[in-house]
């Protein structure tokens, strides 16, 4: 499953990040590393972005980008 499949409040583990190189770098620096726990905090209405939490960092990202992040539910 991918990140947008989670419901608000659910926690999962990052399995893989399948994005092109520049974005991959940025995501790594923001803490998206495989094996890390990720919590979906909320989804914006009108198919807006997601708010997720990795460790102590909260991050906003669009569903299209989030769909490239594979997770598995704990």
């Amino acid at each position: 499953m991918t990140l947008p499949d989670l419901h608000p409040g659910e926690i999962a583990t990052i399995v893989a990040v399948h994005t092109e190189e520049p974005l991959h770098q940025r995501l790594l620096a923001m803490g998206f590393r495989s094996g890390k726990q990720i919590e979906l905090i909320r989804k914006a209405s009108f198919s807006g972005p997601l708010q997720v939490r990795i460790g102590t960092t909260d991050i906003l990202l669009r569903r299209s980008e989030a769909a490239k992040i594979k997770v598995c539910k704990a």
Partner: protein, 595 residues
Amino acid sequence: MKRIALLGMPNTGKSTLFNRMTGGAARVGNWPGITVELLSGKILLGSDMVEIIDLPGIYDMHGFSDDEQVVRHFLHDNVPDLALVILNATQIERQISLLLQLKQLDMNLVVLLNMADEAKRFGISIDSKKMSELLDMPIFLLSAKYGTGYPEALQAIGKALRYPTPSMAEQLRSQLEQDGHIESEMARVLKHTVQIPARLSDNLTEKLDRVMLHPWLGLPIFFAVMYLLFQGIFLFGQPLQTGVNDLFGWLRGAAVAPLLASLPAALQGLLLDGVYNGVATVAAFVPIIILFFLFMAMVEDSGYLSRAAFLMDALMARLGLDGRGFVMMLMGFGCNVPALMGTRVMRSRAMRLLTMLVIPFSLCSARLQVFVFITAALFSPKAAPVVLFSLYLFSFAAAILTALLFKGRFKNNEPFVLELPPYRFPTARQMALRGWLEVRHFLRRATKFIIAGVVLVWLLTHLPPSAAPASSDTLAGMIGSWLHPLFAPVGINEQLTIALIFGFVAKEIVIGALAVIYGLSGAALSGALGQQLDWVQAYSFMLFTLIYTPCLATVATLRSESKQLGFTALSIAWSLVLAWLVSFAFYQGARALGY
């Protein structure tokens, strides 16, 4: 002179530290990407002068965005004698990756774990001594905002500066190719030195966000907050402005006029009706400017801008922009120039250009002055704030329309990923600094453009000497009647046309120019405008002022940021055309409806 560079991820407090070290005035805001330019200051450290440079935040040394390249080039071309690496202590578990990258570069480093106050509040404990041993570099916990831990850090900085400057390895990039082992190194260091509670105890942010980012209430709250802010600015600011204006009027009669009485009449006129009236009218806006930017500082520093990006991204995506573009538009409400520079955080050139095309429609504080003055002159005290708010809506509408029309030409698929910082509240010192910065900026513009502008207007309205002042025989009258066919259909008379021409240079001049053209200032000018114009004409004039080119500084920034003359020309031409069309539609429409 030795040189210290401040390095770190966005929003970690580099500018706050810079201000603390240099007493300087870098812009601080709770938004990743506030600093996009190099800023330097000099201080006396021990017995030596050292130069301190505030760099834009970078996520990692491979970064591709324009601001990250600024940093890479800087490090490559001038190796600093010391790099201060500023990390957010509350996010140490991920930010340490940047530190490990920098460590590979063989630079002199001192590491500052900033936001120690927040780390403590969130229950995160860091053993900086141990970390220092493990990584073999000086590491300190401090709070740049409140100053705890700062003296110790400063001492270490002075000590580190005595080491010789390493010569930077030739190829920065190739050095960084092998990032592979960073992850295991991160884990090793963190395991021994950092303890993070399973659940962060930042209840305040959680609770506030539950309301502010509520799926259905979020947007209405956003607009309500905006409305209240602008209401507040008008309600508090307008009486202040009138008060200052009266003060200047009194001063003129009591001191300035008698002082100049011995001068020849023409010179007296130039100084009193030109320079004094013009400048006093503009200077009366200083309290509103301060008030406005105190509000702005609060909003920027609170972290609410990132929330606005979250709420608006879905809409912005349909316009070919993203949530950051919306935040830039909001920042443009202060001044368009830094907002344009803020687009450097975008990587896709197409999106950057499209964002730069819409930012000039943001109703900046200079235009706000014009509107405060005219709405107060033409509308009842009850209606005026609503009229003002409607202009903000027009500002958004112009931006949205522009994005819709041009998004095809600036197609992009820039990813949208943004950090959401916790809510923070500015200290009184931060607010005072920001207010002072803006006043200084305003006074600089005033001395540069406004005085020259009002003198020029006075000359135009009084030359040739044979003509009656401000009559149709003066130069201004001639220009006005020459442009009359263009502006009559939108209800803008000849006097206002002259003001608009000068408004191209800076909007602050508009009211000053009107003061000179009518030979009146303050309440008398309001009265004259109220008699000569009806509300339809005045509103049409305000729409035109809102939409056409903001000012020369914006044009120059568009040019330097886009590095494209064609794009700059497109921006100017489009805004002029749109301004005319909107004013035309409004004016003719209102007249057709019988107003």
